[in-house]
Symmetry: C2
Subunit: 227 residues, 2 copies
DNA sequence: CGGCATGTTGACCATGTGGTCAGGTTGTTT
DNA sequence: AAACAACCTGACCACATGGTCAACATGCCG
């Protein structure tokens, strides 16, 4: 009567009337989402494949069938997050307006933390552990990214468009301030006494950061630019 | 001939000519330091008593003999860190100078992160995991701490001593910016290409943060106060 | 239908986990 | 010396870990 041996996930998929090839894609997505959450909360060692499988609603064996190994799954998640990261503020030039660029930088970084809080925490946990999987990325791509932007900031300072601050510390300031709301969400919610931050809250925080950081660096907002 | 059964730690202690009661104290200190490092890097679940014992140079049984349980050890470490935290910026008043207070705030928070990077990371890992052991502290003591300081910031704004910024976001900004250099040390070192941050680096960063944040909030340094 | 790739999973394995405990050594007091 | 508490630790336990595998189900092609 009841189809005892029908795989749970496939059965569920079929009940929703999904097309053939969509199952794999859906399962993978669900596994990646579950894994991101577990790895973010407990770090690489603290996460167990069993816990990921339960969060994804699949047997442990199935998770390993799709992902090969715990390590492979973790690396894949890190790479996904680095790709999102790399899409940020891809091209800026010395001729751009500092105020606009810095505002866009803060906004897009804040949006990334808000859209992918688990990914952000996953990254944080990896760094806390000493970045065993990300050494190369940090010392290579990311370092170059920072230096390129830093060079532009410096030229802006020379042109008198902003104070002569050390660009690297400025970038770290923006990173930390924005990342804080994803990584330390539990602290933020506990102290503010809320269940979650609304879009309005986030907009208010973003505006605060833009205002304080731009003013703090002596960057004049575009509307007040000398004509 | 050789005293086979003499406990390793005790033997070592005696070789250094330590007094009687000092051994326990020394072992406890060593265990706490080792545990802080391991918990900070791998979180509560990811840390193993075995790893802590090895880092402390003691048998696992000995660690459990001193600390009772993994959980008890973890809680003890958290409490030690919260005590350090609570000692910060204990009493400020509306009549204090905003510039001096904010500078002292940033300086002392930066010093805490620098003096106890492992404790700082331990705290970060606990928050990343959703603060399972610190809910009470966050919603109680720490929240009250923030609200008290916030009230003073607000009065300063009313008196025109600083811009009317939301105090909570300002406190989070200072926390995140300072904590960053402990929690994300691996990232900072990777990007700057150094082995460690020197005292001079830290002083430079501290000065940068003080300058940008005070200016960003419209706080006039004491030397330039209207007379 | 038959055949083959793909998907699915319970049972299993070696290893690691937190924690207990018996049996020992040491330090202190008498 | 004797007695007692404190200290120390290897051996052990029940359980969880990441990963393998054989057995089976299914999807798709002819």
């Amino acid at each position: 009567m009841t189809e005892v041996a029908s795989p749970a996930a496939t059965r569920r998929a079929r009940e929703r009337g999904e097309a053939g090839g969509a199952t794999r894609e859906r399962n993978e997505r669900e596994i990646l989402a579950a894994a991101e959450k577990i790895f973010a909360a407990h770090g690489y060692r603290g996460a167990s494949v069993q816990a990921i499988a339960e969060a994804a609603g699949l047997p442990k064996s199935n998770v390993l069938y799709y992902m090969g190994s715990k390590r492979g799954l973790y690396v894949r998640l890190l790479e996904r997050m680095m790709a999102r990261w790399n899409a940020l503020l891809d091209d800026i030039s010395v001729d751009d307006d500092p105020a606009e660029v810095l505002e866009a930088f803060i906004r897009s970084k804040m949006a990334l933390s808000r859209r992918h809080p688990e990914g952000s925490r996953l990254f944080a946990a990896e760094i806390l552990a000493g970045a065993p999987f990300l050494q190369e990325f940090l010392r290579g791509e990311l370092r170059a990214w920072v230096e390129e932007r830093g060079a532009i900031f410096r030229q802006w300072a020379e042109r008198g468009l902003m104070d002569p601050v050390e660009p690297v510390w400025l970038i770290f300031l923006i990173w930390s301030a924005t990342q804080h709301y994803a990584d330390f969400e539990a602290q933020v919610l506990g102290i503010t006494g809320r269940d979650e931050l609304s879009d309005a809250d986030v907009e208010q925080i973003t505006a605060f950061l833009i205002r304080v950081i731009l003013k703090g660096c002596g960057v004049t907002p575009p509307s007040a630019a000398p004509g």
